[in-house]
């Protein structure tokens, strides 16, 4: 049960990040900040499969994390949430083709360690 919750926290969380990032990248940089422009943007995003599935995945991860926090000790649950940072980076490197140089690898590792330490 715990293992299932861990998987449901980490994997949909990272897939959600990946899909929303891909959806927004496909849309391109937001430049029209007028009310009408934002309305059109909202309509476009509401039709984008990447964004919809991405947000659903993030919601699944959120509720799985709540369940994980309520059923396991914090010192176990907290590092699990940090792991999704690393998975995000791997997805972004190989699927979104981002240029992940040493600054970013070191940075994201430090952040993951920090999140684990801070929430334990």
């Amino acid at each position: 049960m715990t293992a299932l919750l861990v998987l449901l926290t980490v994997i949909p969380g990272s897939i959600g990040d990946l899909l929303t990032a891909a959806g927004m990248k496909r849309h391109g940089e937001i430049k029209d900040w007028s009310g009408r422009g934002l309305l059109r943007l909202g309509r476009e995003l509401a039709r984008s499969p990447n964004i919809i599935v991405g947000i659903v995945c993030m919601a699944v991860a959120f509720f799985a994390m709540m369940a994980l926090f309520s059923t396991t000790p914090l010192s176990f649950a907290a590092p699990v949430t940090a792991a999704s940072n690393i998975l995000d980076t791997i997805f972004a490197k190989y699927l979104l083709r981002e240029d992940v140089e040493w600054h970013r690898w070191t940075g994201v590792s430090l952040v993951a360690i920090g999140i684990a330490l801070i929430s334990m």
Binding site: G28, G107, L117, I118
Partner: protein, 193 residues
């Protein structure tokens, strides 16, 4: 960048930037916020972001916009989570799967404002992701974890342990390292040029 040229005054400011937590008689230094606000400009722009897309002025606007949205994402996350936590403590949901408990909780003003702020968080994060890399956005906005711990110390009187301070240091250092890279390393889509 202009906003980063105030570095000379940083040293003077650090001394004042600490909150005294009365409950635990604890100084909460906020140096890490200064470190992040004063980080140097990104070191290089990748070649594939061609000069046809960005001249020097365009690059400056791009970086300022990215920085502004980072702050919005972090602030809405921290304040939204704080409001939600505070509201949910007040409501004290009985552990049940009844949807009525959740609907009732949502009517609470703290919970409602928390939810509104977290919707703003999602929107601003999506906007930031439309021009910045995922591997930039995730570590840089993780500062919210550090700020949440500090907010809990300042407003809720929770103590910050040594281990948590080490965690805050790690997050700050990591976000700083990522923050000096250029936010976008991927080829921009045609329509974005």
């Amino acid at each position: 960048l202009h906003r980063r040229q105030a570095a000379a005054s940083t040293g003077d400011v650090i001394g004042f930037l600490s909150f005294r937590n009365r409950a635990y008689n604890l100084d909460v230094p906020l140096w890490f916020i200064v470190v992040l606000l004063e980080r140097p400009a990104p070191m290089h722009m990748p070649k594939q972001i061609s000069s046809s897309y960005m001249n020097e002025r365009g690059e400056r606007t791009f970086l300022a916009k990215t920085f502004l949205f980072e702050i919005i994402v972090i602030a809405t996350n921290v304040i939204g989570n704080y409001a939600l936590k505070r509201g949910l403590v007040g409501v004290a949901i009985v552990e049940s799967f009844s949807p009525f408990a959740y609907v009732h909780a949502m009517a609470h003003p703290w919970v409602a404002s928390g939810i509104v702020l977290l919707i703003c968080w999602l929107g601003s994060r999506l906007a930031l992701l439309s021009w910045a890399d995922l591997t930039y956005v995730v570590p840089v906005t993780s500062v919210s974890y550090a700020l949440t711990a500090v907010a809990a110390a300042v407003f809720l009187g929770e103590a910050i342990t040594v281990r948590q301070w080490v965690g805050i240091l790690c997050i700050t250092g990591g976000a700083f390292l990522v923050g000096v890279t250029f936010p976008n390393t991927t080829e921009l889509p045609e329509e974005a040029r």
